[in-house]
């Protein structure tokens, strides 16, 4: 492999896989929020249904 090809391979791998690593790190630092179960229950209870026009 030529030097320019090796350099571009490393840059491409760092950019794409590095981007994925950063995205995963960001996700880990922001744990999943728990939804308010009551709100979900209201969403699905269907007790009062607004008609569409």
């Amino acid at each position: 492999m030529s030097t320019s090809a090796i350099v571009m391979m490393i840059i491409a791998l760092l950019a794409v896989w590095g981007g994925l690593g950063l995205a995963l790190l960001n996700l880990k630092r922001n744990p999943e929020a728990i939804d308010d179960e009551e709100a979900d229950a209201v969403l699905h209870d269907g007790a009062s249904v607004s008609p569409l026009r």
């Binding site: 030529s2 571009m8 491409a12 996700l27 922001n30 929020a33 249904v49 569409l52 026009r53």
Partner: protein, 557 residues
Amino acid sequence: MSASGKTQQAPSNVSARPQREMWSGRRVFILAAIGSAVGLGNIWRFPYVAYENGGGAFIIPYLVALLTAGIPLLFLDYAIGHRFRGSPPLAMRRLHPKAEAIGWWQVGICFVIAVYYAVIIAWAGMYFIFSFTTAWGEDAAGFFTGEFLQVSDQVNLGFDFVPSVLIPLILVWGVVIAILALGVQKGIARSSIVFMPLLLIMFLILVVQALFLEGAWTGLDAFFTPDWTRLGDSSIWVAAYGQIFFSLSVAFGIMITYASYLRRKTDLTGSGFVVGFANSGFELLAGIGVFAALGFMAASSGVGVDEVAVSGIGLAFIAFPTIIAQAPAGVLLGVLFFGSLVFAGLTSLISIVEVIIAAVQDKLGWRRVKAALIVGIPIALISILLFPTTTGLNLLDVTDAFVNSFGIVAVALVAVVAMSAGFGALPRLREHINATSSVKLGRSWQIFIGGVTPVVLGYILIDTLTTRISEGYGGLPDWFVGVFGWGMVIALVLIAYLLSKIPWSLRSAAYEKNIHEPILDAELDANKSATNKTKGGQTGLPETAASGSAAGEGKNP
């Protein structure tokens, strides 16, 4: 009960309406979304597109396209699906009643893709088995079109079935319908949990094995050597945007549907960055694996890599079988390659068919199993009737080319123009994303969606349109291209319009309780609502969209 029709009362017995399914968490959503994005195109399209468009230099336009179009479009789909909590027709209808037809257009595109995409998975399944004996011998090309597909000389619509394609195709559809009948969590999520790690492991082993083949580094040299002069050529920028656009499964309803099953407080941008970069990471890996193998093929034949580099069906079913027949431990290489194609294809096909099932479920208020069977079986039958035949290859070629060039690109263009200039929905959708996401979007997101993507998509559409009109398609007869190419893409638009005029069932998801409050962050909405009242109720979206649905939604109990 059309969008402009009279008010109707929903039935009192609304408990019969099925609840909307949900992912158990964002991890399974991310896995399923990656499963959808990573498909056949990552393996057989990206390597050649990169090689043909500047090699190593392609990474620059590719990353620019990913960050300015791919990921922004992914966020747009997430925002629509998550905020309006529906399949494309319902989500679009809730955004604005006039947008429902765009949703049905996306569903129609998914239908067309599903019927031919399944056939390629069936081929890959058979080649997985053929790999054990290298059944194609020394003439992979002749075997593929002759002994295997038995391609007819006639270009028409025939019903002369080829059992070796028909049987695996029936199996593929059986698996897909069974997974979809199990539902979002038990079916799609669980299959992603199994298939995606398996795909990654298989592909990693494949790449490592390919790197040890003689000539592999020559292949990689050809793949990564940059041709900087090409960066000034607009065609490589168009190619980069095209690759990102087709690769990410954006703008034809899949991500809208998948995002509609997310919990309210999901980190949309955080999840989207993982999906976007994982998709690109996989295709970069595919580029390394494919060009290492092509380097071996070139070395074995004593020719340059440029003479063996191909993409698509030619790469998978002609070049790779040739490599497998010649390489040491070729059986393993074949099993890993075709196994990867099967798993990558299956997870994508599942997501494509899910869009159609979810749309029918939403419109008619059907439960999951009923919808999966009543929708899935006819789709499977159409696929089984049209494609595993001696004339199926030409039909697949034309439908694939036209539904991509004039279906997906056109609907994406219409959708981004409608969301930006048409309905002015982007500021509100950005607020929605920012309410629950870790990475906040600035105004640049609106510029990418409303400015960059329409220009790029418009250019790609017009460029392909003029080429097709002047040159036809692949030397095929005009009537064939007219019916299954042009006719099909025009029919998709007309059918979408007609479907948007069919009244929604009283049991449908459109009659769910006001979706506005539960979807957007409650606190943000409450503040917004108070502010809007003082400003006279202006929300940034048309009234029907801002209220989450149509009339009556603003008068919540």
